[in-house]
Symmetry: C3
Subunit: 331 residues, 3 copies
Amino acid sequence: MLLEKIKPLFDFETLPKPVYIGNGLTHQDIISVSQFDTARLDYIFARAHEMREMVERVGAVDLLKGRVLACLFYEPSTRTSASFIAAMERLGGAVIPITQGVQFSSVSKGETLADTIRTLEQYADVIVLRHPEIGSAQVAADYANVPVINAGDGAGEHPTQALLDLFTIKEELGRLDGLKIAMVGDLRYGRTVHSLTRLLLQYKVSLRFVSPEILRLPLTLMNEVIDARLDVRETHDVADVIENADVLYVTRVQKERFTDLAQYEEVKDQYEITPELMAKAKSKMIVMHPLPRVGEIHYAVDADPRAAYFRQVKNGMYIRMALLAAVLGKA
Amino acid sequence: MLLEKIKPLFDFETLPKPVYIGNGLTHQDIISVSQFDTARLDYIFARAHEMREMVERVGAVDLLKGRVLACLFYEPSTRTSASFIAAMERLGGAVIPITQGVQFSSVSKGETLADTIRTLEQYADVIVLRHPEIGSAQVAADYANVPVINAGDGAGEHPTQALLDLFTIKEELGRLDGLKIAMVGDLRYGRTVHSLTRLLLQYKVSLRFVSPEILRLPLTLMNEVIDARLDVRETHDVADVIENADVLYVTRVQKERFTDLAQYEEVKDQYEITPELMAKAKSKMIVMHPLPRVGEIHYAVDADPRAAYFRQVKNGMYIRMALLAAVLGKA
Amino acid sequence: MLLEKIKPLFDFETLPKPVYIGNGLTHQDIISVSQFDTARLDYIFARAHEMREMVERVGAVDLLKGRVLACLFYEPSTRTSASFIAAMERLGGAVIPITQGVQFSSVSKGETLADTIRTLEQYADVIVLRHPEIGSAQVAADYANVPVINAGDGAGEHPTQALLDLFTIKEELGRLDGLKIAMVGDLRYGRTVHSLTRLLLQYKVSLRFVSPEILRLPLTLMNEVIDARLDVRETHDVADVIENADVLYVTRVQKERFTDLAQYEEVKDQYEITPELMAKAKSKMIVMHPLPRVGEIHYAVDADPRAAYFRQVKNGMYIRMALLAAVLGKA
């Protein structure tokens, strides 16, 4: 009786259909930088550039209206989660924010990552995962029927960071081939340095690795660089590279890495980027940093137009917009 | 002077009016399964089925555009809060997520639940409440002028879980009358089992209760089942029911419930759902679980098409969409 | 090759342009009540009144569609963050919720407030900041290129609270000039009392300050009141003011403020608002409270139409809607 009175809520013929864009990443997971050859990088960078233009002109669009992103952070990372949330929102999509790692309730009840992922994919069209364990993003992707984007899996990868780093160089300097790129600081443990370096091996760049002795680039990665037959040098002092560098990619030399604190005190000043150091650099070059920084770039450098690290942050949003649009797209 | 120059921001004549749907739940609270007779269940299930069709075809609509849901979780429950958030977002509504229980600041300042609710209803059009104390949802509903949906009040009720469970049986098997339904595991403390059983008393079903002796269905509920004159049996072993069951509703037998651990070790294997056990079941039946699971259903069962527990999760979103649309509707 | 096939995603000519409203606050920070003269107050109150009318009629609009608010709370404040989130959502905007203070990850890594702000402004069009340290909102505003709205900086200011308090008096009683306004309770430490009092100095009001001796209004603020040549009196007992007050603004007398607990026990009853006390008040007057309350207003008073504290909460949303629209606007 009651039921007979029910009129359908929706006229499906007149409902707007989802909007898709053509690309080579449709419904794919984004787990590792190794998925990105130069053609795919060109594609994503072209899309990210479009996103930048769109945001600067109108702020947001409805491209992903009706799509839902589950932002699942097993450890908090405000910068990365905020970037993905803004990216989804500026494309008109919605977000399920699960960004307070330690309180994820099902986990404390003993649920496996696989079950959590298979639960969330019932609600969401795409899952962004941050997890402290290496390999977890691939596990999630193996179980999920919706695309999984790796937002950092411990000592593993953080591919969107590497993509935004490379995109920043391209946007700022207009090209990649022919550039002199210096990586500075903790090259041994710095995940962002490793991923960016691997992406750069596909281009004709000169690489300079500047680090304390105990924080030199790992041997396996150094061998990959050598095999790529790029112009490469290692050094202990930023002063050695500052004059010719087109890019100075700075990371922090953490005190905790040193067993001998005297050694730390001795070297740390060689890795601080100061206005005095910048005075020796080219007029057209950029300083980058994955942030957060804790003193390794002097605040007086911020006003220098060559300080690109906050523009780099913004590029992260554009790259994530391009990726979200790509994995949710259809040819 | 300044004020005179102010032109109105809005032309109310041209603003879109809120969309309403007709139903018997307009502006009502959803506190208990006892509110749902078969007519109302039919109504909600018909709407939930429509929601499923809509999501599968277009992902989301603007039915609740401009409506705001306050998701107030005094204890975290990622699955339930994510489900409600996705439900509201897929209907075009917005969410105020207050889902990190322990840090709810006003509570730590001594505010009563009543005041918190009366504050949030100033911002939101509907409140979903999870609270550790039995009866709290009714207290909230008594004070609120906007609809309150109970998302679990401790040892009390969790009505949307019971509704999604029943809806899953109907969606999967096409009917409720005539089915053989086996409840397995902790039938004494399992809130979901109690609520689902109460809903099932309105249908012509056969019930089988499978549990260790110390975790048998509570006496009062058993008497309700007997009074309903259904075909009912209790047993200690899943093997007794597996061949004829249309539905196997599995819950966890928690070690902590046993004072005698030897007793636990003795019985626990009788409550694990394995591929070997499933080989004895009918070809058209379903295995359900409220999740999260911790070993009581073997992972090898997941690939079995009869494993319905993740589809059950998705049905939770559809049921919550139907309820949100219903309580925010107007005849 | 792949790249050549890329068609532009957006036709910028046909994209909707952002909507702006004219006002004197475009792109300005909201840090202190001292920014608000009567002309600006009139403007914001007129807009807030429009917001109220809009919400009551249609619930929400798309005025700020495509705009993103970063809600950055270094300490949790559910009421204030929920209010800002609802305000942004009811104007069609999106929110990045970072509202679980203690877990803000970059901060734990040693990032400065300035860097956090400069990061978030890459994602968001406006930042709402709650921070435990006085002066932090101004620091944030100094570094940010997007508008910063102070949602409380420790012992500093909480300007949107003061604005909503004043707006409530105007909405409820139709005017400000000529009113008798009594502030009750902890006048020494109560930030809301101080800010509201400063705003009221611009109007022709009578002020009554009712507090225990040790919680009297600070000397500097009392001198400001005297300099404004308003009709002002201090007293120790609410009974002295109840008969003539148009507004009773109640705050809590905290036990912890007293070194001598006997003194606390002696005075506390003089500061409880009861139905008996209300029986002596004018028929057209209002009781306000910044909430949360812990006993200082008897629950039996809630049913009294003169109890305005929950309407006051709702006015907070309207004021924040008006401010968000204003700072994101363009002449």
